[in-house]
Symmetry: C2
Subunit: 328 residues, 2 copies
Amino acid sequence: MVTIKDIAQEAGVSTMMVSRVINKRYNQVSAENIERIEKIIKKYNYIPNSAAQSLSSKTSKIIAIFIQGDANSLEHPYNAVMLGYLIQNIQARGYDTMVHFISNYSDVCNKLQSWKASGAVFFGMFEKDFLQFQTNEKIPFVFTDCYSSSIPIANIGIDNYKGGSLAAQHLLDYGHDNFAIVGEYFNESLLNQQRLKGFCDTLSKAGINIEQNHIINFDSSTATKLIEIQQAHLAVFAFSDILSLKVIKQLNEHGYRVPDDFSIIGFDDLFICHLTSPELTTVSQNLSKKAEAAVDLLFQYLNYPDMPLQNIVLDVELVSRDTVKNLL
Amino acid sequence: MVTIKDIAQEAGVSTMMVSRVINKRYNQVSAENIERIEKIIKKYNYIPNSAAQSLSSKTSKIIAIFIQGDANSLEHPYNAVMLGYLIQNIQARGYDTMVHFISNYSDVCNKLQSWKASGAVFFGMFEKDFLQFQTNEKIPFVFTDCYSSSIPIANIGIDNYKGGSLAAQHLLDYGHDNFAIVGEYFNESLLNQQRLKGFCDTLSKAGINIEQNHIINFDSSTATKLIEIQQAHLAVFAFSDILSLKVIKQLNEHGYRVPDDFSIIGFDDLFICHLTSPELTTVSQNLSKKAEAAVDLLFQYLNYPDMPLQNIVLDVELVSRDTVKNLL
DNA sequence: CTGAAAGCGCTTACAG
DNA sequence: CTGAAAGCGCTTACAG
């Protein structure tokens, strides 16, 4: 295994010179030496030992990604796609990515400490305890979709209120006046509350109020409930695309059709929704941009540790496809 | 930051004793010392520096996962789920996972060398060049779904021939006598050829031969082709679940219904297929087991480097759901 | 069962 | 622009 010492020897310089070239501190090395050293590096296909670099510099070019839960998390396309884009963006910056599933606080600290990671990205649901990291560790953290009111954190999120509002407006535009909402974890998630509020506020402005029993926590009897409250054509706002598919499936099993009997509008705009027929009308968020923004923000903290914590809110847009019936 | 030296000092022993305890070489330490040292480790919540460990031991508890392609690879649920299970199994063994998207040979060598990874898992499509690793590097490698005839590699695959055969038999059992096959990359992938052969051989035994124009390379005109060759009810064997969904969608757009007008049978049995209606009949492979087998095999090579290269073939089974019409 | 010595391959901090 | 010295935090290999 060729080391910095071998390169230095062959170049007739000190190891420090080689180190400077490796780290692209070109202003500290003569042009002549840069060229000579790089040539030898290439000749031997020399790869620096990351562990040695880490040990002496007390940091490493590793970004840790923490996913709440276990492997099943990646069955949800949202998480899988998000993970993919995060890794890609991290890789594009010359850093390596470690991925960990976690279930508790100490797991995170261990992984971060032992590898001296440069930074971390969190995604999935995190309880308040998790958010405290920010204070206990000095390495930069970025959360995604963590909408916490109490604790200031660096976060990349989307405009959930607007998403709910766009969904409502679209349905109103298509002449709907009979609504239901299907979600999960209403109480535990600020995200859902924002979508709900955006939806209800917009309907409210049009003089429509949603009754409490039209707000449904998804389970196996959701279709039954929807059918019960269906006086006329009912428009359902589901809080994710996957949830939309599940609802459509349940309705189909009861012999009802979308969009003929029920309209439905989802949230996320996952690739998978293009494979269904009818194609899902949905509130679209751009995961590619979201991941990029998360990594951008992380590297800003990496370069400027004293930068104040930011909560970045990305835009959403409505994508009209085939699951909302035009009643006009 | 507390180090092995601090622990040793407080325990009144050498750093070697602490190192032995950390590495669980308990037979080299007195019971008394084990207890004392472990208590102090816990007290300070001491976490070993992985870089230091790696530098002196010339290895690290890192497994690298290489995915051919870029972030888009994870849009395919198969890849995403597989990745999740792999990470989970690696983590369960106390190792950390680095994930890399790769497009060429040298990327792999760099990553493996610089971190002194203990082993690597490959998934996605790999050309012959990639398979050569096995000889150029001494760290253990496991491929998944790499069906190479020429070069011996360690691989976890499934019984694709049987999968094709099961699909054919199921359709025969349901009274079908009119068949088509939809796949991708027929020529580049031994996997597809095995599925094709299993399917055709089984039909052949029943006295049925598939005409060449019934073997279709998927594109946007696939439904048109299927409709053209549909004399009676046509049974389509698609080489993946995702492909099945795409075919169903195309057929729906032409006004045809599954399973009324066409029957379809997929391959993989992804979670996502339970969300569609009708639910997909498919050849099921167990990704959880596949990932576990891959990690098991990798660790066997890690522990017994001289073990001969194995090609493990996992079983598949047919899962009958709602996309195949019973013609009897 | 125990420990002193040397070294892994780099970077930091300093001096010139 | 250049380099000698020291050290990062562990483990290996050896001796007892």
